[in-house]
Symmetry: C2
Subunit: 332 residues, 2 copies
């Protein structure tokens, strides 16, 4: 099995834009670690591209795209996420505002606030930071956002369009994964992909795009054979499916779920998981679902956590907002 690693070293070395490192295994043989798919750098590139596009768009007379981020309650993580989104928006030239509500907010008030934003011709994108406090029906709220302003891609209509391979707004994290596969030129056509986790915002839409026809209208299909694993997949079956996969996308929030012995040498591993843990020294740090230090020695390409899918999600949200602005301008 390990010999196939050597075969791919050549192609890995050719690509000098990717980070890769030599290490020595227990027998003293030189090995090449996986290419690290730098989501932070790619997100910067995408934001730079967007910045130019939006600049040109404004230069020909359009107003700047605009985004409204609604946040309810005081969850510190949610506030950090929204701050990062607003900062990214301003960086690329999207006008952005946070609308903060107390956690005692009623569902009715939230819904009528969203309805006003739906009507507001100066707003292109509306984002409701999840989770919402108990007592507010998230699904009802997501369906209140006008589908054409739903930059999170959570509305039933957008999910339906995605499932039918129609042009739509795709949930940013799922789009981030697909964009990384494309930009880093990971071949998906006819390959085996495993998606671990079946959440409706991440795992499901990723599986949908990975298995779909690349010739359909959305142009997001990737023509891979896709296996969807989840909490009820027995561990030995998860291992078996992963070991047969050319691409693994994991989004479970379970640290070290994906171990080195589950990886086919040379496979691509995309880690969407993000969990804050406390290590032996009592220090807190962010980790993904992948046992990175070991998997990096077997995989052909891997995303780090942090610095992988996370920053790309924010970049794709900006992409979605600009897309919404352009489409709304066409309609109005």
């Amino acid at each position: 099995m390990r010999q196939s690693i050597c075969l791919r070293i050549v192609s890995t070395l050719v690509n000098t834009t990717m980070r890769s490192h030599t290490y020595f295994d227990s027998l003293g043989s030189a090995r090449i670690m996986a290419r690290v798919l730098d989501g932070k750098a790619l997100a910067r590139d995408i934001k730079d591209e967007l910045k130019i596009k939006i600049h040109n768009w404004v230069n020909i007379g359009h107003r700047a795209p605009s985004l409204r981020c609604i946040i309810v309650g005081n969850d510190p993580a949610s506030h950090t996420y929204v701050r990062n989104k607003v900062r990214a928006a301003l960086e690329v030239g999207i006008e952005a505002e946070t609308i903060k509500y107390d956690e005692t907010l009623s569902e009715e008030t939230l819904i009528s606030a969203i309805e006003s934003l739906n009507q507001d011709k100066n707003v292109d994108g509306i984002l409701v930071q999840l989770p919402l406090p108990n007592g507010i029906n998230e699904r009802k709220v997501c369906n209140t956002v006008a589908p054409e302003k739903d930059v999170d891609g959570f509305h039933i209509t957008n999910v339906g369009q995605l499932s039918l391979d129609m042009p739509t707004i795709v949930p940013a994290t799922a789009l981030a994964v697909v964009e990384m596969l494309k930009r880093f030129k990971i071949e998906t056509y006819g390959r085996n992909a495993v998606v671990v986790g079946r959440s409706k915002n991440v795992g499901m839409p990723i599986a949908m795009m990975l298995h779909s026809d690349g010739n359909h209208d959305s142009r997001l299909g990737m023509d891979a054979t896709v296996t969807i694993c989840h909490r009820y997949t027995p561990p030995e079956q998860l291992e078996l499916h992963c070991r047969n996969a050319d691409i693994i996308v994991t989004a479970t929030g379970i640290p070290k779920l994906i171990k080195a012995n589950m990886i086919k040498p040379g496979a691509t591993v995309i880690d969407v998981g993000i969990t804050r843990i406390t290590d032996e020294q009592g220090k807190t740090k962010l980790v993904g679902d992948v046992d990175y230090d070991e998997v990096v020695k077997i995989a052909g390409a891997i995303t780090p956590v942090p610095g992988g899918v996370g920053p790309m999600t924010v970049a794709m949200l900006m992409h979605n907002t600009f897309q919404a602005a352009q489409k709304l301008r066409d309609i109005n």
Copy 2:
């Protein structure tokens, strides 16, 4: 491998309501063939149940559920399908009418005809027989049918709801497969399922229900680990995925695609394919995707073609129509 067949013989024999036959292999050993999942008989049961429910519904003062089947052009197969649907509707007490149009019909006229049916309070279910003549956009037509009357489950909203595990109207063929698995008590929880074919009306919704959470609102989730194979899955990978599957659902229209060497002994094989072929004697007959005569010797359960999923599809369409009638009565 073959020894595991013997283990399941006992449980197969216990269930006397299933057909199973003994045969002798080339070494003269007695073997038990797969249980044949009789879709025709099950469809009859379901229609009998529906007939009673609809009778009771009408007895308490509701008008009979009503279905309108639109057919455009002269395709003989389409006319046969619609005739079967109308016959089944009348059998169970659904008032049904076929609306026939010439193949020169314009998209605009078709759309306004559907819009009138949407408004008609005496109509519960609307079905547009596909395919439509060239020049008519099928997706646009499917989205014109009011989602609550869309008994085919093709509207974006219904597809979105299905993808989000929400209560919805599910495409009849996909629902037929899930209903067969349930009624024949095929365990899916934590099992490996392979869906061959990624069509939006059959393969995709089946994969969606098979992998989803059984505790979600739709109650249609089956908690299986699901692999979606399609035209770009390399043959050796299709074989590998199938051999690891406890359940195979195939919907490709390629006769004998699924062969005995691809089947794990004891697996369940659901054949959605239906193709008219001419045999060596020049006789035409309907066949599925499965090499039935050989697979029946290895599988634990198998659907025949014809007489498997086909009749169940019509029964589930009647189920959808009654469901739509009940829901519309709640709304009005």
